[in-house]
């Protein structure tokens, strides 16, 4: 029995042959066949990817917006009470592991307070409800997972933006701006633009941690994305899916980092090729 399976899936061949065959398949876009779900791996990922992208995309955007806002606000008044309070809270949130925060949020908001749903992307009966109710339902399911990811990532962004803002405000061109009668709001805007470079760099750095954080968060909230798929496949011993997942994950991270590099060049003209 086992022998038949092995023969059918090509596991009999020497490892190197399997590897080469796999590479070839990869290049032609074929990610293999799932022994667990008996369908092409590509299809399985194609279904799971949008869910993960939704989660990571929203979390990423919110992290940047909140982090930059918080950091700039703190950096403009360094050492003030609000700065110190915000820094302490940031530190705590930053240090907590993602699954810890996710579990905590789940426990408090779902199990104890019953404000938000616990798992999944949609409630069971939602497909029978009108469109607005369905969207609202989706939103309610999205909140906790996104919050888990955003909270941590935004503190990283905030920390860098704060430092960058504070340091930039002490640069000479800020004095020039004031000397030319620019109102304080414009002065700060000029300073903020010059402070973006370290911030964009750190955005590139948090992307990998968002991607890995997704694995934990999807598990905690039962979110049917690529992380869940990967984990399930590991337990089902579906190696095709596992390898494809690792490769896809790494590729996505590399791609995102490259995007961040492009953004860096856009932010600081000194980095552009002459």
């Amino acid at each position: 029995m086992r022998a038949t399976y092995r023969a059918r899936y090509g596991f009999d061949d020497p490892l190197i042959v399997q590897y080469v065959r796999w590479l070839g398949m990869l290049l032609s876009g074929d990610l293999g066949w799932s022994t667990w779900q008996q369908r092409p791996v590509l299809t399985m990922f194609a279904e799971a990817l949008p869910n993960t992208l939704l989660l990571v995309g929203v979390a990423m955007t919110l992290s940047v917006v909140c982090g930059v806002a918080l950091g700039a606000w703190q950096g403009a008044h360094p050492g003030s009470l609000r700065d110190r309070v915000a820094s302490t809270v940031s530190f705590v949130v930053y240090a907590v592991p993602e699954f810890g925060l996710a579990l905590g949020l789940l426990l408090i908001f779902s199990e104890w307070l019953h404000w938000l749903p616990a798992t999944g992307m949609t409630s069971e009966l939602s497909m029978y409800q009108p469109v607005t109710a369905r969207w609202l339902d989706r939103l309610r399911h999205l909140i906790l997972p996104v919050l888990s990811l955003t909270a941590i990532a935004s503190t990283i962004v905030a920390r860098y933006q704060r430092l960058a803002m504070r340091d930039t405000l002490s640069l000479p061109f800020v004095q020039t701006a004031r000397a030319y009668g620019l109102p304080e709001s414009r002065v700060r805007r000029q300073a903020w633009r010059a402070s973006l470079l370290p911030v964009i760099t750190v955005v590139g750095l948090i992307l990998p941690s968002l991607v890995t954080g997704t694995v934990f968060v999807e598990r905690v909230f039962g979110w049917p994305g690529m992380g869940m798929l990967l984990l399930d496949a590991i337990f089902k011993r579906d190696y095709a899916v596992v390898t494809a997942g690792i490769v896809l994950g790494s590729a996505m991270t590399a791609f995102a980092t490259a995007l961040a590099d492009l953004a860096r060049e856009a932010a600081d003209p000194r980095l552009r090729p002459a």
Partner: protein, 337 residues
């Protein structure tokens, strides 16, 4: 008020908090500048000249502060008593400042055109296009070739001389009546220095603006000034028309500065130096602040600080020697030239 000076600074004191209490970096400086006049403010680093300049725009960086009792009157307006909004409107519009190091004084992530245009937009009702057009026109006036293309470049893409021209353009674009230039040529090559100074002179002739030029370089003074103010240790020590200063310096410090300039054809074995160095604000000697380095110091110098007394018309000096000229001989130390 056509007869009153454009700028009247009276009893300017700027202090910084320190461990021992307040320390005065600028200690009772008074001077005036007439409309269209070109004045040079000379002194070594640390004498307080840059701070004096910054105070005219009320830009003294904290924790330093202009002390109460200081009066600055510009074009009839009391700068010290100005509210924030009129002050902001004045800056860059009626009084403008050119900074020493244009690479750091300009915003690195904005094009030079944008930075100049922003000044225009803040001080007038110009639209983006109008402001940009005016910026480009100004760049041409300051001698930048192909101004339309240059305006889209960033500060780091320009040479040092061009950056300084950009700063000058930014300062002059709103047609100020007083331009303060803080060591505008110090960071530049000698050949470029000459070009920049020529540019400043030309713009002056064109617009009739007054110029307060801060420098430690007497060559610049000779080129640009009609009147010179010499500062030492936070005080004005001599004030004179430029020829009088070079011909007949009164204060020993001025003497020393002039003597220290290397001369091409003089037979000198060693360059003349003023012995010692500028004392920091918390270590000023009693009496005359220059006496530790002065070749002519005598007993009165340690007892009372000299007041600014008239030497000739429009020429004043802060030295006891003005009243006791017979004391002007070396007290054992080497004399001047």
């Amino acid at each position: 008020m056509p007869d009153s000076p454009l700028l009247d600074v009276h009893a300017l004191h700027i202090a910084f908090p320190s461990v021992e209490g307040k320390v005065r970096a600028v200690d009772g400086v008074s001077f005036t500048i007439e409309r269209g006049e070109s004045v040079c403010l000379v002194g070594e680093s640390g004498c307080g000249k840059s701070l004096t300049a910054l105070s005219l725009l009320r830009l003294v960086p904290s924790p330093g502060a202009i002390e109460a009792g200081s009066q600055i009157t510009f074009d009839g307006h009391d700068v010290m008593g100005m509210a924030d909004e009129p002050l902001r409107a004045m800056r860059g519009h009626r009084m403008a400042m050119i900074f020493q190091e244009p690479m750091t004084a300009l915003n690195p992530v904005l094009t030079v055109g944008d930075q100049i245009a922003e000044v225009v937009r803040v001080h007038s009702a110009a639209t983006r296009k109008e402001a940009w057009a005016r910026a480009v026109a100004m760049l041409e006036q300051v001698g930048i070739a192909d101004p339309g293309a240059r305006a889209t470049q960033y500060p780091h893409e320009l040479s040092g001389g061009m950056r300084q021209r950009v700063m000058i353009a930014m300062a002059l674009i709103m047609g100020p009546t007083l331009v303060i230039a803080d060591e505008p040529t110090t960071a530049l090559d000698v050949t470029i220095q000459a070009q920049i100074l020529d540019l400043l002179r030309a713009m002056r002739e064109k617009t009739g603006m007054a110029l307060l030029l801060i420098t430690h370089d007497l060559g610049v003074v000779a080129e640009m000034a009609s009147r010179v103010i010499v500062m030492y240790a936070g005080r004005v020590v001599e004030e004179a028309p430029v020829e009088a200063l070079f011909r007949a310096p009164t204060h020993p410090y001025t003497e020393g500065l002039l003597a220290a300039v290397p001369r091409m054809f003089a037979e000198q074995e060693r360059l003349h130096t003023i012995p010692g160095s500028v004392p920091p604000p918390d270590a000023w000697p009693t009496g005359c602040k220059f006496r530790d380095r002065c070749a002519y110091a005598f007993d009165r110098c340690a007892l009372e600080e000299p007041a600014l007394v008239q030497v000739a018309s429009a020429h004043r000096a802060r030295c006891h020697l003005v009243q006791e000229p017979e004391r002007r001989h070396a007290q054992g130390a080497e004399a001047g030239t």
